[in-house]
């Protein structure tokens, strides 16, 4: 009888393994197998390849360093100092995460391009196109992610070693080298690799402001989308996979196993006047720089004809909707909702299996779910074309949902894995002795305790599906096109005012979703507060 009880979960894990294999491993393998000696030769013997690789690397490294530095100082200001308005700053700083990467490039052009708002205002002579354009755009795109990761690290750093050091009179610089550095090393490496991967695989920013500089991701995009050249596209895809795989392996070996169990002592907030003043100035400047592109979208999108006719007008909005923008917006919302629903469910089930029913199969499942993190969106898109072309799902909304699901599942899965892992290890044992079945425990104990993580997962899937342009650009048809791809379309026709409106639409939908989730959470908190009051 017991043997049968073990068989059901194992079968379920096997099914999940198959799902992940079909969604993650199969496409990847298919793409790698698609590489032929000829296409390898044609890529590596082409004239510009050395330059492309070198430029990609240099531009990405530069942007990564700047991103991490900016984000680190920002995280310090918001986690360790006593400044006010942290919630507001946080809200503003997260805004860039709600619009597509390509919009960040576009924001730069609107502000600093040849006819840009700031260019005209200050009669600037410099050109934004090229190296610094990509760097600045990439920083704008990546710093909120780096900021969130670093803020999290600082939040969970233990203050007690520093207090001990103070008592022992250990000098400041020794504290830095003997406490801060060893603690920061692992998370910092993770952040650096995550940012590096994010930037090098993105084609939105360099496509917009790259000018003469071409990065690998742009070349791959142009090969596949522009010339339908899947053979060389696969080679570029494999190249792009490299940093992501390295990042993944480093991260995997780096991750601490559930170190959150012990009590940590929070840092006292730094209220030194100089530090406070600096923090305010820094946060305000970064916040301004963050909202500047969004303001520029509004300026450009809601004027009749920039720069000649600056009267307020809905003409550009009208035009977006005349060009089926409404339909595409609906497509996007439908895709985002489906991805969020299916993704949250799949993420929860998988995390439950790996966090609460440990076995060899669980470890394998965990590894495959995490592997999804290593696949850049545009590699995923191409892989899906290669595998699913000709199947019934191809050309439907389903394949877009599948691709997004895989593209975004790793982070929410990990959130749930950590959250379920923190729940008392003996709950199942108690359930067994009280004759409370596994499914009932899931419904009455695990789900209720994971609600806030589940909401976070849902939001993550939704927001990212709304704004992604990478995998979907390979898979969408005119019927299934998500609205984010209108930005690429308008960009190609140099109709930035319409692209600006589309960016704003995406931002608006994502803000609405985030707002709704925040409201849900607040209502829940209020309810908890009320019941606490009732108790007295």
């Amino acid at each position: 009888m017991r043997k049968n009880k073990q068989a059901a979960p194992a079968a379920f894990k096997l099914i999940l393994l198959c799902v992940f294999a079909a969604l993650v491993l199969l496409p990847l393998l298919r793409m790698l197998l698609h590489i032929s000696p000829e296409s390898l030769k044609s890529v590596f013997s082409s004239a510009g390849i050395g330059g492309i690789l070198a430029q990609s690397l240099i531009v990405t490294l530069t942007a990564t360093v700047i991103t991490v530095l900016i984000a680190y100082v920002l995280a310090y200001c918001l986690e360790r100092t006593g400044i006010r308005g942290k919630e507001l700053f946080r809200l503003i700083l997260i805004l860039p995460m709600l619009i597509p990467s390509i919009s960040h490039g576009m924001g730069l052009i609107i502000l600093l391009g040849n006819n840009g708002i700031l260019t005209r205002m200050f009669h600037l002579q410099t050109s934004i196109y090229g190296f610094w354009g990509i760097v600045i755009g990439s920083v704008m795109y990546a710093f909120p992610v780096a900021f969130l990761m670093l803020a999290d690290v600082m939040h969970y750093e233990d203050c007690s070693p520093y207090e001990a050091a103070k008592v022992l009179n250990i000098p400041r610089w020794r504290q830095m080298t003997s406490i801060t550095m060893p603690f920061l090393r692992k998370p910092l490496i993770s952040v650096i690799f995550a940012v590096f991967t994010m930037i090098i695989t993105d084609y939105g920013v360099p496509l917009m402001v790259g000018g003469k500089i071409k990065t690998i991701s742009v070349v791959m995009y142009q090969e596949v989308i522009g010339q339908l050249n899947f053979d060389t596209g696969s080679v570029y895809g494999a190249i792009l996979l490299l940093p992501a795989v390295v990042a993944f392996l480093v991260d995997l070996s780096n991750r601490d196993k559930g170190s959150s169990a012990f009590v940590i002592k929070a840092f006292p907030l730094n209220k030194n006047r100089g530090t406070l003043a600096f923090s305010y100035i820094y946060c305000i400047v970064v916040s301004l720089l963050t909202v500047l592109p969004i303001i520029s979208f509004m300026v450009l999108g809601f004027t009749a004809k920039y720069p000649n006719d600056m009267r307020f007008s809905f003409y550009n909005v009208q035009r977006v909707f005349d060009l089926d923008g409404g339909q595409y917006l609906l497509n996007s919302v439908l895709i985002a909702v489906l991805v969020a629903l299916v993704g949250s469910l799949l993420g929860f089930m998988t995390a439950y299996m790996t966090a609460r029913m440990k076995s060899g199969l669980s470890r394998l499942l965990h590894l495959i779910a995490m592997t999804a993190m290593a696949i850049p969106g545009i590699v995923l898109g191409l892989s899906y074309v290669l595998v699913y072309k000709g199947s019934p799902v191809y050309g439907t909304i389903i394949i877009l949902v599948m691709a997004n699901l895989v593209h975004f599942i790793a982070s929410p899965y990990l959130m749930m894995y950590n959250s379920l892992g923190k729940i008392n290890e003996n709950i199942e044992a108690v359930g067994q002795t009280l004759r409370i079945g596994r499914l009932r425990l899931i419904k009455d104990v695990f789900l209720p305790q994971s609600m806030s993580t589940l909401r976070e997962m849902f939001a993550y899937f939704f927001v990212n599906s709304m704004m992604t342009i990478s995998a979907v650009s390979f898979l969408a048809t005119t019927d299934t096109k998500p609205i984010s791809l209108m930005i690429t379309q308008f960009e190609a026709q140099m109709q930035l005012e319409n692209a600006a409106i589309v960016s704003l639409l995406i931002l608006l939908v994502n803000l609405l979703l985030k707002g709704t989730i925040a409201l849900l959470r607040r209502r829940k908190l209020r309810k908890l507060g009320a019941s606490a009051v009732l108790d007295h």
């Binding site: 009888m1 017991r2 729940i423 008392n424 290890e425 003996n426 709950i427 044992a429 108690v430 067994q432 002795t433 009280l434 004759r435 409370i436 009932r440 009455d444 104990v445 209720p448 305790q449 019941s531 606490a532 009732l534 108790d535």
Partner: protein, 258 residues
Amino acid sequence: MDTLKDKKTKLRITDLSKNYDGKCALEHVSFDVFQGEFLSILGPSGCGKTTLLRILIGLLEASSGTVALNGKDITNAPPAERSMGIVFQNYALFENMTVLGNVEYALKIRKETRATARQKAKEMLALLGMSEYENKKPGDLSGGQQQRVAIARTLVLHPEIILFDEPMSALDVDTRITLRREIKSLQAQFDTTMIYITHDQEEAFAMADRIMIMNNAHLVQIDTPDAIVEHPADDYVRRFVLENLQAKADSIRRFVRG
């Protein structure tokens, strides 16, 4: 419990062994537990105490050997069919439910009506002096209070045997001493058999009718506290139990003399 010999055997453990992937955690362990008895298990970390307890309640399968309850073989019975409850060191409460919800949950599932389930849960909480915390969440309670809820959650099903795995290791001394008394009085009231793992020799000697000493996956001695003090089975027991007690007694003597 002066005449243990007359007691009815509640639980009979025969030749129990457990291997974890070749590593031996329990070797040929046999003993009886009597009806209504309080049995403490003592032994160094890693000697197999938790392993034994999990096998007794059916959370873990033994590699060989049998467990019989009231003369009936239950070696392969599922945990819920053994009429046993377990209390863990880390409480393992359902954090999302109130105190009352924790205690009545299992009753509700057993198709008791809502009203009777609630009533029984309330009575049990009253017995443990937890009535005023009924609507609190476990997270808002002290360790001692949480452990009381865990005990109530188990006791409300009226199990024949309750197993404790170091239930007080995370609590402060004062709480331990009060809770000790409460557990003993509950045991008398419900005539429950209790098997109680602890690291605290003094606790074992204060609470137990009999003490079982384990070392290195083996059962070394099982007897009344007096008998163990008078006739330790071997050097190990002498050192493990008596020297510790001696040290404690000395410190108390010193404390009393000032």
